[in-house]
């Protein structure tokens, strides 16, 4: 295994000017602008091995996109060192650019008024892809993303999902080894999200590509990433297993049970915290290490029809991280 992305003590600050609303605010801003330093990313370090898929979690404005832009070479770091595929990103050497790609779910790189196939031909020339490789890549991407029938329609006439699939294809035509994906599934329906996820897993498997992605959809992160980064106010507050994060943040598991006789909260409260109860159904929150013991006891004491033990939803956990500042140092 080799280290594909290495970031050491990365910080990125910018100055932005502020404007009060209204006419006087504009006039004041025109005469004397007030600047404020935004600490978008502060002292972030991490390493990613070749072939890893890492999820980048954090609320809006936490510094995720800024980090991706620094890694892909669009932004110059205020301080710190960034190396991707053995290159300093910001030099943006052609050999480096040919190995990476950046997909931004909210932005469009395809030529709007022409079919996507025209954009692909341009990329073919720009990335100097040989006829044979281009043909293979097109065939493969058409299969994996189900692009047949979409390629020759004007981009502006495509649905959001179709367009996103074409965006991905255009970004991967040169078979990059490192993918930076900023909200690649935003706005897509559940089926299309699943499709894009399957595609990314397959691409990663075939080419051993390294993927760093941000997403607001936990399902993306759960399906794709074993490892996650959590970033808040520009600082990396967690780097590790998604499962370990879940355990660390949430000391409880949920026991859901269905009983043969009606039950009430009073029957259950001695087993754990009652989250919900209605006639034949109930949910209990139980400390992680006691779940199996409690489940066994429930079987003994109540007439149980069905019982399941679940982790809390990751959304809930991530939400708690940020609202309760659970990881702040």
């Amino acid at each position: 295994m080799k280290v594909q992305i290495s970031v050491r003590h990365l910080s990125k600050f910018y100055e932005v000017h502020q404007k009060e609303p209204g006419f006087w605010g504009s006039l004041k801003a025109f005469v004397a602008r007030k600047y404020e330093t935004v600490r978008a990313v502060e002292d972030v370090s991490f390493e990613i091995q070749e072939g890893e898929i890492v999820g980048f979690l954090g609320p809006n404005g936490a510094g995720k996109t800024t980090t991706l832009k620094v890694l892909s070479g669009l932004l110059f770091p205020t301080s710190g060192e960034v190396s991707v595929c053995g290159f300093r990103s910001f030099d943006r050497k052609p050999e480096f650019l040919r190995q990476i790609t950046l997909v931004m779910g909210q932005k469009n790189q395809l030529i709007w008024d022409l079919p996507a196939s025209e954009s692909f031909l341009v990329n073919r020339a720009v990335y100097e892809i040989s006829q044979g490789d281009y043909f293979d890549a097109m065939k493969e991407l058409t299969d994996l993303l189900d692009l047949g029938g979409v390629l020759n329609k004007q981009v502006r006439k495509l649905s959001l999902g179709e367009r996103m699939k074409c965006e991905l294809a255009a970004a991967l035509l040169h078979r990059p080894r490192v993918l930076f994906l900023d909200e690649p599934t935003i706005g897509l329906d559940v089926t299309m999200q699943a499709r894009v996820r399957e595609f990314l897993i397959e691409y990663n498997r075939r080419y051993g590509a390294t993927i760093l992605l941000t997403s607001h959809y936990m399902a993306d992160v759960v399906a794709l990433c074993k490892r996650v980064f959590v970033i808040d106010h520009g600082r990396l507050v967690y780097d590790g297993d998604l499962e370990a994060l879940v355990e660390r943040i949430s000391p409880v598991k949920y026991i859901r049970l269905v009983t043969q006789q009606p039950i009430g909260a009073e029957d259950l409260s001695r087993f754990g915290e009652v989250r919900s109860v209605e006639a034949f159904k109930a949910t209990l929150a139980v400390p992680r290490e006691r779940t199996s013991a409690v489940a066994a006891e429930l079987f003994e004491r109540l007439s149980i029809e069905d019982i399941t033990i679940e982790d809390p939803e990751v959304e809930e956990i991530i939400g708690r991280i940020f609202t309760e500042k659970l990881l702040s140092k």
Partner: protein, 261 residues
């Protein structure tokens, strides 16, 4: 070159997509015709500094062709790409964005030739006052001078577009530039009609080489020697503008990458 051709092909397809628009654009280049009408009414009382009716017709119809063949409007695309942040995608490709914008700027030219070529032939046949030198050699030199003019204008507009890295509206700079260009290039008024002192100054600026020079050439007013000299000066300006452009580009990138996309 392959990259340029691929970009050109895509832009050309866009032009085909927008073909009606291109024709409308061509029809909106009417400034020379308006100026022609003004001068014709003035020239009715007699020639103005040696420019009579026939000279004005030959001058402004040539100006119409030169403007069509060298005018470009890609700064609008640059402006929107910079403000919407899609320029980022261009910066992440192993190709200088200059190639893209140049291809884009040139892409409507073939269509314009298809329309202006026959139109010029008709004008030459039916307008006896039109005096252009259409020897094969002169036409060849005219085309070469158009290439130089186009490159100067391209680099000017591209450099102005790059000011978008610092100011949000590079288009207003472009408006100011167009005003200067119209006056200093001979687009609005033939440079011969300016006071000699002003004209001398204008000869040392690049603008003359983007309009007045090809127009004079087509009118057969220049000797082969002075044409070759003019073409050489054009490419000196191209070299100078290119150096300036690269300097602004590097500084702009530094700004862009500091402040963000």
């Amino acid at each position: 070159m392959k990259k340029f051709l691929a970009e050109f092909r895509a832009s050309w397809n866009l032009i085909i997509e927008y073909r009606v628009m291109v024709v409308i654009w061509m029809l909106t280049i009417v400034l020379p015709l308006i100026m022609l009408a003004v001068w014709l009414s003035i020239a009715e009382k007699g020639p103005v500094q040696g420019y009579d009716r026939a000279t004005f017709i030959s001058y402004y119809l040539a100006a119409l062709i030169v403007r069509n063949m060298t005018g470009m409007w890609f700064i609008w695309e640059m402006d929107s790409e910079m403000r919407l942040g899609t320029l980022s995608f261009r910066l992440l490709k192993p190709m200088d964005p200059l190639v893209h914008y140049l291809a884009y700027a040139c892409s409507s030219k073939p269509l314009r030739v298809l329309i202006l070529g026959p139109a010029s032939l008709i004008a030459l046949l039916f307008l006896p006052e039109l005096s252009w030198n259409v020897d094969a050699l002169n036409v060849l030199l005219f085309v070469i001078s158009l290439a130089g003019a186009l490159m100067i204008l391209f680099l000017m507009q591209y450099t102005i577009g790059l000011t978008g890295f610092w100011i949000t509206r590079s288009l207003s700079v472009n408006d100011a530039w167009f005003f200067t260009y119209s006056l200093a290039s001979g687009y609005l008024v033939p440079l011969d009609l300016f006071p000699p002192a002003v004209r001398d100054v204008l000869w040392y600026l690049p603008f003359r080489y983007t309009m007045s020079f090809p127009v004079e050439l087509l009118m057969g007013r220049l000797s082969v020697g002075s044409i070759l000299q003019g073409i050489a000066i054009q490419w000196l300006w191209v070299g100078g503008m290119f150096a300036l452009n690269r300097w602004v580009w590097r500084r702009g990138l530094r700004q862009f990458s500091a402040v963000g996309a």
